[in-house]
């Protein structure tokens, strides 16, 4: 039932994650943050098996930090996604694979371009202008197909996200309680209200 969404714009990436922590038929929490800042310009959204998600996300975050300390430069969004994909692909053929789906969103300061990577638990990495994970993808991707352009402004992106959330509220059987929205651009990662 978890939902992750990412949209790239002209010079930013907008990411949305639902905030419900669910186990079986019980909603445990309504303000769960399913994202982690990997460095100043890269954010990772995760969904899947609750234990695996936090463990894997923190593992990636610390390795990305370690690289930064060792080499004195930030890992680019693409390098982060490639590394993360490899970790998941290796894990897939281990005794107990991580069941984690990810969106990696970032702003590449070297080329001044926004990036969005869709990674699933099998270790499939797709570079996309907009992406979604979970059942929500079946409702929102068609909206994004219609309204997304590569050069949209932040306000336009916010309007599209509103449309997506509205659709989920009317057509999705489960009432997702809240959404955490983050923007990543040249100034870094910040949370915004939608």
């Amino acid at each position: 039932m978890e939902f992750l969404l990412g949209i790239t714009g002209k010079d930013f990436v907008l990411t949305v994650s639902d905030t419900a922590a669910i186990r079986s038929i019980v909603v445990f929490k309504n303000n769960d943050d399913k994202s982690l800042d990997l460095n100043k310009h890269v954010v990772m959204l995760y969904s899947g098996n609750p234990g695996d998600t936090t463990h894997f996300a923190e593992y990636i975050q610390r390795n990305v930090k370690l690289y930064e300390i060792k080499n004195g430069i930030e890992l680019t969004p693409k390098a982060t996604a490639t590394f993360t994909r490899r970790e998941l692909a290796t894990s897939l053929r281990s005794r107990k694979p991580y069941n984690v789906n990810l969106l990696i969103a970032g702003y590449d300061v070297t080329t001044s371009l926004p990036h969005l990577y869709w990674i699933d638990y099998l270790g499939t990495n797709a570079t996309l202008p907009y992406a979604a994970h979970g059942y929500g993808a079946y409702y929102t991707l068609s909206i994004l197909d219609k309204y997304h352009r590569p050069d949209i402004s932040l306000d336009e992106a916010k309007a599209i996200v509103k449309k997506c959330i509205e659709e989920l509220k009317t057509r999705f059987l489960f009432n997702l309680s809240g959404f955490k929205v983050k923007v990543t651009d040249k100034d870094g990662i910040r949370e915004i209200e939608i």
Partner: protein, 211 residues
């Protein structure tokens, strides 16, 4: 459904007179849901040799990285480019190395050797090599491609005719398979250059204008 068909995608290669073509569709899906329409399944190895990797997308990416490493190491050690037959055997033994826990991918190798003789090779997911001298196909629309190639292919085609033959075969197969399509890419490999063309398959009109 088999795990090799989970992400969709299909590849074909054809041999002509001193030329070969290798082509694939561009779709990446999760069963019925299309995730990407720009997914790379064909990878250049040398200037005159390409590999196509249809199958589980995760393994497609893992293998493309592994083969890139192995080919680069070969080039450094031998101080020459790898030949298509050597490459096919390298891929075959890499796959057989995972005999009892295979990569879910059925690679196709297409290229010209140092004498510009065309080579195409196909193999199954544990590396059993095939040495056809006409065409080879793999992936989700394999059956349809076999039918199309069987009726369209003829010996000693020139590069442009070979491209047309391969394109028509791939488009016809892709347009009737829901796991395959969303555009196609065809590389025509000739002794002096490689021509890469992208094709449109049956797809939503406004989406085409967007791309």
């Amino acid at each position: 459904m088999s795990i090799t068909q989970y992400n969709g995608g299909t590849i074909l290669a054809m041999a002509g007179k001193n030329c070969v073509v290798i082509g694939s569709d561009k779709r990446l899906g999760v069963q019925n849901l299309t995730v990407s329409t720009e997914f790379q399944k064909i990878f250049p190895v040398t200037e005159k040799c390409y590999i196509g990797l249809p199958g589980l997308a995760s393994d497609v990416q893992t293998l493309s990285e592994l083969f890139r490493l192995k080919v680069n190491m070969y080039k450094l050690r031998e101080e020459r480019e790898i030949e298509p037959l050597t490459l096919a055997n390298m891929i075959s033994s890499t796959l057989y190395g995972r005999r009892f826990g295979p990569y879910f991918c059925e690679p196709i190798v297409a290229g010209l050797d140092k004498n510009n003789k065309p080579h195409i090779y196909g193999m199954d997911l544990i590396g059993c090599l095939n040495f056809p001298d006409d065409f080879t196909v793999a992936g989700c629309a394999e059956e349809a491609l076999f039918g199309m190639c069987e009726s369209l292919w003829e010996p000693d085609l020139e590069p442009d005719d070979l491209f047309e033959t391969a394109s028509q075969a791939l488009l016809s197969a892709a347009d009737r398979n829901s796991m395959v399509g969303w555009g196609a890419v065809i590389h025509t490999i000739t002794p002096d250059r490689v021509i890469t063309r992208t094709l449109k398959t049956r797809m939503v009109i406004y989406y085409i204008s967007y791309i």
